[in-house]
Amino acid sequence: MTREDIIKDENKVYSRPRLLLDATMHYCPGCSHGVVHKLVAEVLEELGMEDTAIGVAPVGCAVFAYNYIDIDWIEAAHGRAPAVATAVSRLQPDNVVFTYQGDGDLAAIGTAETIHACTRGENIMIIFINNGIYGMTGGQMAPTTLEGMKTSTTPYGRRADINGFPVKISDIVAMLDGTCYVTRQAVHTPAAVRSARKAIRQALINTREKRGTSFVEIVSTCSSGWKLSPVKANKWMEENMFAKYPLGDIKNTEVKK
């Protein structure tokens, strides 16, 4: 069997998602954002949502998310994506609206907007990239930074007596009546990627069916901020992040409004 025999269209089992635009992503090598962008593009395509989806991009590393997926987008102010998405979803209920936010955007400056969109049960999907650090501004402490974790603003490692404790925002939003689906996923292994893909698919279907707010946390790496190679960052995440942020569904129900 030659390579030419195998590389034929009928044998293709995986190709670059059609909705992923040709632009090379600005992310660092190994960044989890790329995998999650790919999954969102794949699932939007699979569910036939390219004409109805509207993404709301954050401030943070994913600020340019709108350059990578071939749908309409709005770039929100820092932390305000859930408020922007609320208005879009209410004014244009035919659209499938989602936000894509990092930990600083969603769980620090935008905590109020996150909590209130979730408690109102807005029919949106929130994708939450949690890598425990501010990537874009150069590796400062995030609300989700683990205790002991070194960042440029906690060079001694995060200390609870000075910096307080990391916030488990998914557990908080799971307690709110407006959320229908809260799950914590990762994208560090092929199996994890398949599971995360399934979760994003479920969340987008919930959104289309107006079941309430779906919240998908992706525990992620930041090899630049963590100062580890992408492979070592994955290992560090498994050994440290998952203890604080265990993977799996936290809530799965239909909201009764």
Binding site: D51, I54, D72, A77, R90, L91, A112, E113
Partner: protein, 364 residues
């Protein structure tokens, strides 16, 4: 059709006007003295009639970002607040201006700075006309002085906002918001359909819906040359607005030897003061800027050549007076004085006359 004449508060008239204009969404947060706007809209339940969305947000910050979202979709969306709340909205307003999006923001001013007072004030003139938020932008600022104008300026504000793709502000004050007057409510218009929005606002974020290109509403531009182009385009829009949309009103200026410049509720007080002063033989007239930005520079300049003195009356310690002075011809020697009350105090007409006489004793 018979005129729809009602007796109501300025805040209530504004809410009715929003529904009747065919606004798509209102997003607000309670704050005195403008909470009647949200309350009236919730009472009217327009989602049952026109389909308008009304939502009490978790904060002024969330409300203005909801407006940013709705405006990005080409929808006619608005918010209202009062001074401290409008400060919170300033970041979002800057984004709306930068995104070249139409929106209507209402500020029913109360006294500040800080938490200040819930009584009327005009101390947000600088904030409204000089930027307020970060970056190089302007708002179209409309200053109503009656309940009728609270209603009429909703339509005017939205029309201008859509015409120039820029946010407009109704800069009212606690008096105009709270006082009751007769008002002829504007005619009822249907909300625009999705197809009309797509046709009129081809930039609107609606989902691609078969469109070949993507619509992206963003204010981020890291390339200096491209960002400067954005700034130049905004400046060109502002030049057009200044050329076409400056509005003012005059009262008894034909033979005036002295001029009072006042906006909003203060202009009503000054009208009465002018009538009383005229009865005492003082030839004084009023220039009322209706648009505070663009400021009626030419009207001020023209009248300044006719009068012996100008009194600027405001509910602040001297803000609009700067624009009045900037409007004078180079070398003009006409004295420009200020009369202001603050702290939520609304002066009576006699105080204005007293100020005129003390600043210009020869006017008697």
């Amino acid at each position: 059709m018979e005129e729809d004449v009602k007796l109501m508060k300025g805040n209530e008239a504004l809410a009715h006007a929003a529904v009747r204009y065919g606004a798509d969404g209102y997003f607000g947060y309670p704050i005195t003295p403008q909470s009647e706007v949200l309350e009236t809209l919730e009472e009217l339940m327009p989602w049952e009639t026109t389909g308008m969305t009304v939502l009490q947000a978790e904060s002024e910050v969330a409300a203005i970002n909801m407006v940013y979202g709705g405006a990005s979709c080409g929808r006619a969306v608005m918010t209202s607040s009062s001074s401290p709340g409008v400060s919170l909205k300033m970041e979002g307003i800057s984004y709306i201006a930068a995104g070249e999006l139409p929106a209507l923001i209402v500020n029913v001013m109360r006294g500040g700075p800080g938490l200040g007072t819930i009584q009327p004030s005009q101390a947000d003139y600088f904030q409204a006309t000089k930027g307020g938020g970060h970056g190089d932008y302007h708002l179209i600022v409309l200053a109503p002085n009656s309940v009728q104008e609270m209603a009429d300026f909703v339509g005017l504000g939205f029309d201008l906002a859509f015409k120039y793709r820029t946010p407009a502000m109704i800069l009212a004050d606690g008096v105009v918001g709270q006082m009751m007057e007769k008002v002829v409510l504007p005619p009822v218009r249907p909300r625009r359909t999705q197809d009309e929005i797509i046709e009129q606002c081809p930039w609107a974020v609606t989902g691609k819906r078969g469109r070949a290109h993507r619509n992206v509403s963003t204010t981020l531009e890291l390339q200096p040359n491209a960002m400067e182009k954005n700034n130049i385009r905004l400046r060109q829009t502002y030049d057009l607005i200044e050329a076409n949309e400056t509005r003012s009103e005059e009262f008894m200026t034909e033979d005036a030897e002295y001029l009072i410049v006042a906006f909003g509720c203060t202009s009503r007080i000054c009208r009465k003061a002018i009538e009383d002063a005229r009865a005492q033989g003082i030839k004084v007239g009023l220039l009322r800027p209706i648009t505070l930005w663009p400021f009626p520079k030419e009207a001020v300049c023209r009248l300044s050549k006719q009068v012996k003195g100008i009194l600027v009356a405001e509910l602040n310690n001297g803000q609009m007076i700067e624009d009045v002075r900037l409007s004078l011809s180079v070398g003009s020697s006409v004295p420009v004085c200020h009369f202001g009350r603050t702290g939520g105090i609304v002066p009576n007409p006699q105080e204005v006359i007293d100020s005129l006489l003390s600043n210009f004793p020869q006017s008697k």
